[in-house]
Structure formats: C-alpha cells, structure tokens
C-alpha cells in the first residue's frame, strides 16, 4: 500500500514514538542516563566517527529527547530537529552553525525583547552582527542585504505585538540572495502555521511555550527543512569544508539533507552544550499530544477576550489579527487559517501607570514573564521583559509604555473577561 499521509492530530500523538523496542512501554520512557555502553571498541569507533547510529553521551543525544526531536520535525514538515535547553539556546545553536566573526544577518525588529538583546548585544561578542529591519514591508530585507548577510530571521507571529510576517515574500527574497530564511514559530505552533511550507529553511522554537503548553518545562528546538543547498555558497563552509574535529569529514557531502541535523548534535550540542533534560523532553512530548485541542481552545478564548477588550472604554487599541480592521487580517487568513495565536497586546488610555495598575489588580490572570500556558498570563512589557530597551526600541518592538500583553489560557472565557472587567474598572 502507498504511504498514507497521516493527519496532524495523529502525528502529534505518534510521530517519533513507536513503542519502546526494548520493553514495549507505550508511553515514551524517560531515559535518565548520561552515557551508553559500547558493544566493543569497533562499535565505539563507528559511533565516534558518525558511521553508525547510536548513543554515546546525553549531551549530544538521548532517546527521550530524540522522540521529541522527531515529533517536532514531523509536525513542522522538516527533515530533522535538534532539541536544546531553551528557545534562546535554539537560536544560538542555529546561528552558530553558519555564523563566524564578521558575518551578519538580518532580523525583524518585531521580536521578543530577549531575542533583540541576544542578537544585538550578546551575539556581537562573537563578532556576529545583526541588522534590524521593519518586516512589515518585506522589501526592507532586500534593501538591507550586504555581501556578508547569511540569513534572514523573523517571528511568524511577533511577540508581543502579534504582527504577522509575510513568510512567502520574505522566503523569495532569501532564495534570490541564496541565504537562509529562519522563522521563530513559537507563538503560532505548527498547528496554526508551518513556515517550511512557505519556504523557510529553518524553524526555531521555544518549546517552553505552546508545544509543552503547561508552563512546566524549559526547552527549545531547531528544525531543519533539509532544503537549503549549503554547497552553493562559500558562506556556509562549516557544513561543506572538511571538519578537522571529525578527521576531515564534510557534513553536507556525507549526510546530504541531514547535514544540519547531524551537525547540530555532533558539533553544536557537543561544543556549546545546551542539552535538553530528558524529563523536560518527556513533559513536552506529553504536552504536544494535546496541542491541536489546546490551540483550538486558546484561539477561541483569545478571540472572545480580544473582542471584549476592543469594546472597553479604557482600551485604546487591540492588536489581534482576528479582529475586524486589523492590518494583518489578510496575512492571518493566508498563513494562520485556523486562527491567530492567543498572545496579543492592547494599549491602555492611561499609559504606563494604567498598565502597572492592571497587572497588579487581576485575580485570575497570572502576572509573569511567559506565554503559552494552560493558565492565562499577563505582563506589562515596558516594566518587565522590555525594560532593558530604550522607549524607541520598545515602541518599535510593539511594547511601548501603554502596552499590556496577554497569553490567553484554557479557562472559561467568561471568567477571564470578568477578571479583566473588574481589574480595568477599579479606581
């Protein structure tokens, strides 16, 4: 029989997780081990030479983490994935693969504040330079290209502002320039948006958010599409030139479309070391099994809450692409047909002070710096996540002084609306 294409819900439960071959255990076992015995010296040599498959040391690979990697790769439509300790580690590992001192990349200026800081300040210490571009006009990327540019980076749905990137248009610009297009798909999750289908070469995630979904495990993932031709340009020598640490092996020639996935483990995790803990992988695997159900409810609740806020007198604007009149409605319909995510911002007429007051008065929304939890979350970015940025940067990132961000959870929508009503009404 022909290979049957399985549906998203089936793959969210089964991809990567056939029953444990050793025991038949149906749930994925937590392989809480640091190392693995070799059959003999020749087996060990084959493993260290990357000639065969197997586990050596959990800094590189672990059977529980591998199940999560395959599952995320499958749901995103990628060739493979590397799971790491956090979303920031995912970005570090992705860029580490092909950046070097003097190289540069372009990033949307509509990014999670922590990413703006990581790219703009910390990456600069490695000699990697990031140029920030207003992604609302994709041609801004084309105009900012230089001979040193090696990648374009955007968030599919920007955190916190909810702006939606025109993935297909940006992918075309990257292809014409022969450079990588990397998309952070954390806010949408692969249930709502799959950037590789629109031409992204790589997808990164903070699995801490909707994939895990329960606010209980840190994690990150780099998904490689396997579609980027590393050998076409001398810019990507890491994967095309002989690797001295593996006796002159060339990753792209040897592993073909698996080159990035193999390199991410064999060099990236080996040398940078941000391993995902097996327990976190297990919790995230379990979380993903209900991703489709959770995202449906997240989307519905967020739509109801956004509609309530849009009609409230204390609120000056709501940036939710599902509302009538949103400038991102067309892009949302194209890239997120099942609904935009439950993370969005709104502005308070009362400015910075009103934002501080609101987060201190809610009873059901948790005031904390995270998104993508079963619980509803609230934060005032200007006083927390984005406080290290200048007011100009805050505004550019969609996190000006009057802005409040919500991550709408899975509680009863009427309870969430009532909580916001009382907190906005008070004094």
């Amino acid at each position: 029989m022909a290979n049957r294409p399985f549906g998203f819900e089936t793959r969210a439960i089964h991809a990567g997780a056939t029953p444990d071959p050793a025991t038949g255990a149906r749930s994925t076992p937590i392989y809480q081990t640091t190392a693995y015995v070799f059959d003999d010296v020749d087996h060990a040599a084959s493993l260290f030479n990357l000639q065969t498959y197997g586990y050596i040391y959990s800094r590189l690979t672990n059977p529980t983490v591998a199940v999560l990697e395959e599952r995320i790769a499958n749901l995103e439509g990628g060739r493979g994935a590397i799971c790491v300790a956090s979303g920031h580690a995912a970005q570090l590992l992705a860029f580490f693969t092909f950046m070097e001192p003097g190289a540069s990349f372009l990033a949307s200026n509509r990014l999670y504040g922590g990413s703006l800081t990581q790219f703009g300040r910390t990456f600069a210490k490695f000699g990697w330079s990031a140029g920030f571009v207003d992604m609302r006009d994709p041609d801004n990327f084309r105009r900012a290209l230089t001979p040193e540019t090696r990648a374009i980076f955007v968030e599919s749905v920007a955190n916190p502002g909810g702006e939606i990137a025109d993935l297909e248009a940006i992918a075309r610009i990257a292809d014409e320039a022969g450079i990588l297009f990397i998309v952070d798909n954390t806010m949408a999750s692969p249930y709502l948006c799959r950037p590789i289908e629109w031409g992204a070469h790589m997808v990164v995630h903070s699995t801490t958010k909707f994939l895990g979904g329960h606010g209980n495990s840190m994690g990150g993932a780099v998904v490689d599409s396997g579609r980027f031709d590393w050998s076409k340009s001398p810019k990507y020598a890491t994967l095309t030139e002989p690797e001295p640490a593996y006796h002159g092996l060339r990753f792209h020639e040897t592993f073909g479309d698996l080159a990035m996935t193999v390199h991410g483990h064999a060099v990236g995790l080996r040398d940078l070391g941000p391993t995902m803990a097996p327990l976190n992988a297990f919790l995230t695997i379990t979380g993903i099994e209900t991703l489709p159900l959770r995202m449906e409810r997240h989307v519905a609740n967020a739509q109801a809450v956004a509609k309530f806020l849009a009609g409230h007198e204390a609120v000056s604007w709501v940036s939710h692409a599902g509302l009538p009149g949103s400038p991102f409605q067309a892009l949302a319909a194209k890239y997120l047909p099942k609904g935009v995510g439950p993370v969005f911002t709104f502005g308070l007429r009362g400015g910075y002070e009103a934002g501080v007051r609101l987060v201190e008065r809610v009873e059901l929304f948790s005031h904390l710096a995270n998104v993508g939890d079963t619980r509803s979350l609230i934060i005032h970015p200007a006083s927390t996540t984005h406080r290290q940025l200048t007011e100009e940067q805050q505004t550019a990132a969609g996190a000006g002084p009057e802005v409040v961000r919500l991550s709408v959870g899975l509680e009863t929508a009427a309870d969430l609306i009532e909580d916001l009503r009382q907190a906005l009404a008070a004094g």
Binding site: A15, T52, A66
Partner: protein, 160 residues
C-alpha cells in the same frame, strides 16, 4: 514505475530480500560516505563487496575489492551505485549481465534511461536514495539522531 517517491513497503521488500550487495565506487578511505554506508550495512548482516578499479586487489572492511562487477566470483543480489549519474547506464548493463536483481542508486544519482533498461530486464530499481538511510529510517535508528523518519506505527519495531 514512478521514481519520484517510494512506498515504505517497496523499500522494505528490497532490503529484506537482499543478502549480497556489490558497491560500485566503494572507497578505501574511512571518512568517505561510501565507507560509512558499507560499514553500516555490514553491521546489519549484509555482505558488501567493494568495486573500484583504483582499489582493486585491496581489502576494504575485510572484503576484497574488484575492478569491475564482472570480476566478482560470487552471486550478487543488488548493485549499489556510488558513481555519478552518467555512469549509471553502463553499470546497469553490467548488473544485468551478472544476474543482479536490484539496482540501487545513491542520493544524487538518477538516470531514468538506466532505470527503464533495468526494469525492462526484470530488475527492481531505487534511485536518489541511500540504503543506509532507508534501512535505518525503517527500523527507527535514524530517529535516534532527531531525524523525521515519517514512520507512524503503534507496533513494536522489529527488524527490517
């Protein structure tokens, strides 16, 4: 048949039926892709006979290397092509002549003309694939490295 994609059952059937593989273009150097594939297939119980005129008479991974397919004294089930696509037609002719049942061309190697010729002679053909990757994908080992195998099953994994 269509060579743009292969059913898992087709690939499984081939890998289950094969015992002896002649690898045309096998390298004696340990860090070359063909060496990786040969070594892996040996650990899975296949006998792999290297074919490479520049290494003829040498021993690669315990097997004597031959200059041409026709020089191999033992029966060969499958010919694995580790050469550029332009060489595929002549290798297929040799494969037919020595009685091989399958011609398998590595990733990046494709010749629809050679495939049609092999199929007309009753051979099965796989192109632009690696037997190491396909074997490991179908038994689940490829997923150990975080690769999307595309295999969805609630059955306990077994040998190929």
């Amino acid at each position: 048949m269509n060579h743009d994609s292969y059913d898992d059952a087709y690939l499984r059937g081939i890998l289950r039926s094969v015992h002896t593989i002649a690898m045309v273009g096998a390298s004696p150097h340990w860090n070359r892709p063909s060496y990786f594939v040969m070594k892996y297939l040996q650990t899975k119980g296949f006998r792999v006979i290297p074919v490479n005129p520049t290494a003829a008479g040498e021993t690669i991974l315990g097997e004597r290397c031959y200059a041409r397919l026709a020089d191999i004294p033992d029966p060969v089930d499958m010919v694995d092509v580790f050469r550029a696509s332009v060489h595929a037609p002549e290798i297929v002719e040799d494969a037919i002549r020595i009685g091989a049942k399958i011609v398998w061309m590595q990733i990046g190697v494709r010749s629809d003309e050679a495939a049609a010729r092999a199929e007309a002679a009753g051979l099965k053909v796989v192109m632009d694939r690696c037997p190491k990757i396909e074997y490991s994908r179908l038994v689940g080992e490829l997923g150990w490295s975080g690769v999307n195998t595309g295999v969805i099953s609630a059955r306990r994994r077994r040998a190929i």
